[in-house]
Chain length 235, copies 2
Amino acid sequence: MYAQGMHSSAATSDYTGYALCRGLDRRASSQVVTMASTQRLQAGQQLFGEGDRADGIYEVASGIVRLYKLLPDGRRQIIGFLSDGHLLGLAHRENYVHTAEAVTPVTLHRYSRAGFDRLLDEVPSLARRLLSATSDELRAAQDQMLLLGRKSACEKIASFLLTIASLQGEDGDADEVQVPMARCDIADYLGLTVETVSRTLAKLKQDEIIELPTPNRVALVDRDRLEDLAAGECA
Amino acid sequence: MYAQGMHSSAATSDYTGYALCRGLDRRASSQVVTMASTQRLQAGQQLFGEGDRADGIYEVASGIVRLYKLLPDGRRQIIGFLSDGHLLGLAHRENYVHTAEAVTPVTLHRYSRAGFDRLLDEVPSLARRLLSATSDELRAAQDQMLLLGRKSACEKIASFLLTIASLQGEDGDADEVQVPMARCDIADYLGLTVETVSRTLAKLKQDEIIELPTPNRVALVDRDRLEDLAAGECA
DNA sequence: ACCAAATGTGACAATCTGTGACACGCGTAA
DNA sequence: TTACGCGTGTCACAGATTGTCACATTTGGT
């Protein structure tokens, strides 16, 4: 899923783009920025693959990254879309246990694992903040389990659209959302096929709940109805 | 899911049953034990409900606890079974976001939220360990997303049985496992119905992959085949 | 302007669900 | 100790939702 990234809607600072600095003092923030290197990816480019040695921790500065796991026959489950403020690579041990790829052009800050561990030693409050951020990710994952295990295709799409809207709106909710992911990405995130995603969007359009000005933009016409669907309150 | 709890197969210590003490020095361990109170639940009894105020953090000392989320119409998704060594209630903010109930008779250690926060202040290394434990839970949740979103009923059941076996065996793998959960719990954990769980177990028995001496015990007869199924390597 | 990729649609199949009936086992009461 | 009731588990049959396959249309990039 995507939980809210590790940023807050606070005033800008000298370390905009370094969400890891949030809440740290000036000296610690300087350490963070010094040890970070910047990396850019094109859309579709892989950051790391499942099984690769987990020697880096990354922070999304801009763009969208997809995380996924694969089955041997190619079945793919996307386990999260990450936007700015999110960390990648923190929860791994020796090797990465999923793959990370750019959905859009992406800018990342990279921290070596060794450097990151030293930082944790030197800045004790950082572990508290990472614990909080990882807990946010865990709660989002648990919400997604409910969606994957129990919701119908229509409820899944409704939930997805509302989640995206809640992250794009200035005041928390947008009436029209930009959906940068392809239909096959949405399908692999919701445990559906592309055809079902397409058919379900068409049905919601037919029921005048949404509009699709272009394939990558969705207007939420009947938000109340969408919220009822997402909450599982309709047949 | 259940990730491994916060215990290791190390030597016993004076604080057996207090997995939170693992890795702490004697003074910190004494603090933990002093602030903990013990709580016992009968099978089926609720520990906390979704929406309740999150004022306690719990550690499972013995028994099994199920965590679940509900939809308004009663659809339930179990998001994890926790055994000894696991913490509950850590990832929540103001209110619990899921429900916790005892599957078997359970003994827990309870820490108040306020006391727990003070402990984190006084024992900096604790946050590192909790970060590690929460990361384990997050990885397990991501594995479960792959299962819920992409695996067939048979692959789900095979995965479930192997997971249980890997936690019950002395050397990591048991040939016969105890399944203390009811069929409806297994169903709600795997995103299936009780009938499908029952049919799938019957099919695996018919194919001589497992045996069911009693409904709560499963003998893994053809472990290689089960592992292939769980990994998604068969039709 | 062209082409490839993405999206959308229709027909049919498959997997899982839903329902009803029945069997079995366990716990409690007599 | 025995019998009964209830909860759990199993099974058969029918239905529904989603997947699969093939093809048409649209969109975006060069």
